[in-house]
């Protein structure tokens, strides 16, 4: 499997971890993974208006016995902060896959502050952070994160480095 196939590998990793619900706020970096999840009749994909909704969705799904994942970009992490307090207090398992913005190759300077703060914000709210720097690492990181989340009851985020996503300009994004 080539490095470009990471969304397919992650989709397989999520299925292997028993995930049934996929909440997402779209990010260009998650485009293929979202499409794979939407096309999968065994997965229920839920488009959110803001990432904070996804925290409630994951908590409710767990109360009902279902495993879920949240897909978002790093800017969305900031929208989750207060809701993560509930996750911590109740020890809800939580699996987040976060595509990074504001890093190497970023074309939008307004993405930089939240990109810089993403890890520390998550860690401040007791979310365990794993980072994938290369496409080949992502699915393995997701499998490990899912085990930490669902078997040990932790909140875990996998940050996917922006250079893996590799979008460098508005033109490229529009054409993708």
């Amino acid at each position: 499997m080539s490095a470009a196939d990471w969304p397919q590998e992650v989709h397989g990793a999520l299925k292997g971890a028993g995930v049934r619900l996929v909440g997402y706020v779209p990010d260009a970096g998650h485009k293929q993974l979202i499409e794979l999840c939407q096309a999968d009749p065994e997965l229920h994909s839920i488009v959110l208006t803001t990432e904070e909704e996804g925290i409630g969705l994951a908590a409710g799904a767990w109360l009902g016995g279902a495993r879920s994942v949240l897909l978002m970009q790093s800017s969305g992490v900031g929208n989750c902060i207060n809701a993560l307090g509930m996750v911590r207090e109740c020890r809800f398992p939580l699996l987040m896959l976060v595509t990074m913005r504001g890093e190497e190759g970023e074309f939008n300077p307004w993405q930089v502050p939240m990109g810089r703060a993403t890890r520390s914000v998550l860690e401040s709210m007791h979310v365990t952070v794993r980072r994938a720097e290369a496409a080949e690492e992502i699915a393995q990181s997701v499998t490990a994160a899912a085990q930490l989340a669902f078997d040990r009851g932790l909140a875990v985020a996998v940050l996917i480095a922006q250079r893996v996503i590799g979008i460098k300009s508005f033109q490229e994004e529009a054409a993708s």
Binding site: V47, T50, G56, A59, L63, G65, A83, E89
Partner: protein, 196 residues
């Protein structure tokens, strides 16, 4: 009989025949109301996460399509999560109902007026978000039909119930989050599920 509704009596009547109903109680007075009506392991009262009660209801409804899920929350809490009505309207789970206990005030913080006091219509928002039905209840005679709709009609359904703004004695549910989660899991899914 007076022509106004009081929140404790309203919630008590909504939950009077709850049977196997799953209940999410939104932060603040709505959670105290649910506790005053009779605490249950199948009620998940929220002590935080303001604005996410309806989304907990959605997650629960999607995970348990065979069970009825009722979110009981206040107008302030619902206003903080207006986007979740749009998200629910895309999914349209038939087993999800939301009762907004609308006193038009933030009751826990000094009774400041909320947006609904200025005419913001949550039922209209829900209809605009593709809820199968939504309406406002103002009088005691309308409560029993609303209760039957919340527990039986195809969802998603939202009923906005206008109640008197009053400061009532606190009736607090257990507050340790892990305990609230585990008792719910145990009651719904059995002993092994609650061990996680």
């Amino acid at each position: 009989m007076t022509e106004t509704l009081h929140r404790r009596a309203v919630v008590k009547s909504l939950l009077a025949e709850r049977r196997d109903l799953l209940v999410v109680a939104g932060l603040g007075s709505a959670a105290w109301d649910c506790t005053a009506a009779g605490d249950s392991p199948l009620t998940f009262p929220m002590w935080g996460g303001m604005g996410t009660a309806a989304m907990l209801g959605l997650g629960l409804a999607l995970a348990q399509p065979g069970r009825r899920v009722l979110v009981v929350t206040g107008d302030g809490e619902m206003l903080m999560g207006l986007g979740s009505l749009a998200t629910i309207g895309v999914q349209r789970p038939e087993n999800l109902a939301i009762a907004v206990i609308d006193n038009e005030h933030y009751g826990e913080t000094g009774m400041q007026a909320t947006h609904t006091a200025h005419g913001v219509d949550l039922a209209a928002v829900a209809l605009g978000c593709r809820f199968r039905s939504a309406h406002v209840v103002r009088r005691p005679a309308e409560l029993e039909p609303a209760r039957r709709a919340l527990l039986g009609d195809a969802g998603p359904i939202l009923v906005q119930i206008k109640v008197v703004a009053e400061t009532l004695p606190l009736v607090l549910p257990p507050h340790v989050g892990v305990r609230l989660k585990n008792r719910f899991l145990q009651a719904l899914l059995g002993e092994t599920a609650a061990r996680g």
